[in-house]
């Protein structure tokens, strides 16, 4: 079967909305378009019922015991901000110390930087070469003034899965709240807020084949009851934690996407992992000097982050222009700095510039993976033939011995 181009392998950035999700949403645009807060008429009640059904679907997808614990937001960035700022500000009297990890998403890191400007102390934990947080370092960083530990479930660049249950245990033992950004995790790796001792969990629809513009923050209501200071003030929606009219069609789509992800989980994760392994094996068989960034075992099934030594990432993206992937190369960012995540792993800047992130998802096929292998091999080979670094390495020159001019 011919591969339909362009080919989408950027499922960490976002995903296609599943047609079943679109079908579930449609009536709430044009038929039952009421405001879910309008309880006095049938349009409002239909909308409210749909939202409550979705809340149940979302709670079940993460192992939550109560639907009421789901706070609907505009997406994971808002959920991250609400969790981090909301908890820190609410518990300020208890302590002013926060802990997070160097490889977190910018939404979490920058929320912490904002809190530093409000006078909070923040510990940014390093990660090891695999991308995993050191539990002993986390334990050592906890103080009597620590109120919140924020660790993501699955990293958005390298896909590594942090040891959530162990982190939850450490936090519980010290009476510290544990917030987990699970935007890249729900539907991809097992998430169970009860079993993992999580107190706050952020996730979003568009990473799991739902629509963009809607997310959720799960907030534990018992043992302990977690309180947050809201970011938005207004009509008191979402138990006062997030005022603003709910985007009913998006919420319905989010619920449907979560239910679908839970239903398909076993088959889908196995199939996607097999595709990922096929991609990695295919690239390794045909290209020397390529390096996997991040641990292979503790990794979400759809992620592959590879450095193609001696080939700059953006030029590689240009060459495979009929395949949508992304790069940790500086040239794809406005800052000209290579990926801070790869740097935190101790990946040399030189290799960080050559990294490509493949994100495999529900709608990818074996034929597409084979096509991607062929294209990437072809372009890497062509670009290496015109790379002065590749030439030097072929001549036996150790690149570290060269005195570069820099700029």
């Amino acid at each position: 079967m011919a591969v339909k181009l362009p080919l989408y392998l950027d499922n960490h950035a976002t995903t296609r909305v599943d047609p079943r999700v679109v079908d579930a949403m449609l009536p709430y645009f044009s038929e039952w378009y009421g405001n879910a807060a309008s309880r006095t008429h049938v349009f409002g009640r239909q909308a409210e019922d749909a939202v409550e059904r979705a809340r149940g679907q979302l709670a079940r997808a993460i192992g939550a015991t109560s639907d009421k614990e789901i706070v609907l937001t505009s997406g994971a960035t808002e959920s991250d901000n609400l969790a981090v700022k909301g908890a820190a500000r609410m518990y300020r009297a208890k302590g002013d110390h926060l802990i997070t990890v160097a490889t977190e998403h910018k939404a979490v890191l920058d929320a912490h930087h904002a809190l530093e400007r409000e006078g909070f102390q923040v510990t940014f934990l390093p990660v090891d070469r695999r991308g995993l947080v050191d539990l002993a370092a986390l334990e050592a960083a906890l103080t009597d003034r620590t109120v919140l530990v924020s660790v993501m479930a699955v990293n958005n660049e390298i896909g590594v899965v942090q040891p959530l249950a162990e982190i939850g245990r450490l936090c519980k033992a010290r009476g510290v709240l544990f917030f987990c950004d699970a935007a890249q995790a729900v539907g991809k790796v097992p998430i169970d807020v009860e079993a993992m001792g999580i107190d706050l969990l952020a996730f979003t629809a568009h990473k799991m084949y739902g629509p963009k513009g809607v997310g959720a923050l799960w907030v534990r209501r018992k043992a302990p009851r977690v309180r947050l200071e809201p970011l938005f003030h207004g009509g008191g929606h979402e138990r006062g934690l997030r005022s603003g009219t709910l985007a009913v069609p998006l919420v319905v789509g989010f619920g449907a996407a979560a239910a679908l992800a839970a239903e398909l989980f076993d088959d889908e994760t196995a199939r996607i992992r097999a595709l990922r392994d096929r991609l990695w094996a295919g690239l390794q068989a045909r290209l020397p000097n390529i390096h996997l960034n991040g641990d292979l075992a503790a990794r979400a099934p759809g992620n592959l982050n590879v450095s193609f030594a001696y080939v700059e990432g953006e030029s590689l993206l240009m060459g495979v222009s009929d395949i949508a992937v992304s790069s940790g190369s500086a040239c794809t960012s406005a800052s000209l700095e290579p990926s801070y995540v790869l740097r935190a792993l101790g990946v040399d800047d030189e290799l960080a510039h050559t990294s490509i992130r493949f994100g495999i998802g529900r709608f990818n096929s074996e034929e597409e993976i084979d096509y991607a292998i062929d294209r990437v091999v072809e372009v890497v080979t062509r670009l290496r033939e015109m790379s002065p670094l590749w030439e030097m390495v072929q001549e036996g020159i150790d690149l570290r011995s060269v005195r570069w001019t820099g700029h």
Partner: protein, 131 residues
């Protein structure tokens, strides 16, 4: 990022990719940039007895704009005397390739590569004057 048609053209059909024998006294080689910065350019020229650049080659590790800048540089130096080649400015490359501000450093590197190749050739001539 949107690339100009000229950048895409040079990226897909780079001119003068390859290497000249770097120990040849008639060949000047310039290598500029650094791998940790994400771009390295090697530009080589072969100068004939009349002092005219008759051949140029490049190899570049870098983004599409870096590849295009060095490809264009090899086209431009060919047929020029050493003095004429030294007149090529990075701003000319920016204008020709329509580079956005964030890619100006690619053109600077290409100008540096030309100068480094010219300097290498001249240094060789001074150490072996009776060629």
């Amino acid at each position: 990022m949107a690339y100009s048609d000229k950048v895409l053209d040079h990226y897909h059909q780079p001119r003068n990719v390859g290497a000249l024998p770097k120990d040849d006294p008639a060949v000047g080689t310039g290598v500029v940039g650094a791998p940790e910065c994400g771009d390295v350019m090697k530009l080589q020229i072969r100068v004939n007895a009349e002092g005219v650049i008759e051949e140029a080659r490049f190899k570049t590790f870098g983004c599409g704009s870096a590849i295009a800048s060095s490809s264009l540089a090899t086209e431009w130096v060919k047929g020029k005397t050493l003095d004429e080649a030294a007149q090529i400015r990075n701003t000319d490359i920016v204008a020709e390739l329509n580079l956005p501000p964030i890619k100006i450093h690619c053109s600077v590197l290409a100008e540096d590569a030309i100068r480094a190749a010219l300097a290498d050739y001249k240094a060789k001539q001074q150490s072996a004057p009776n060629r």
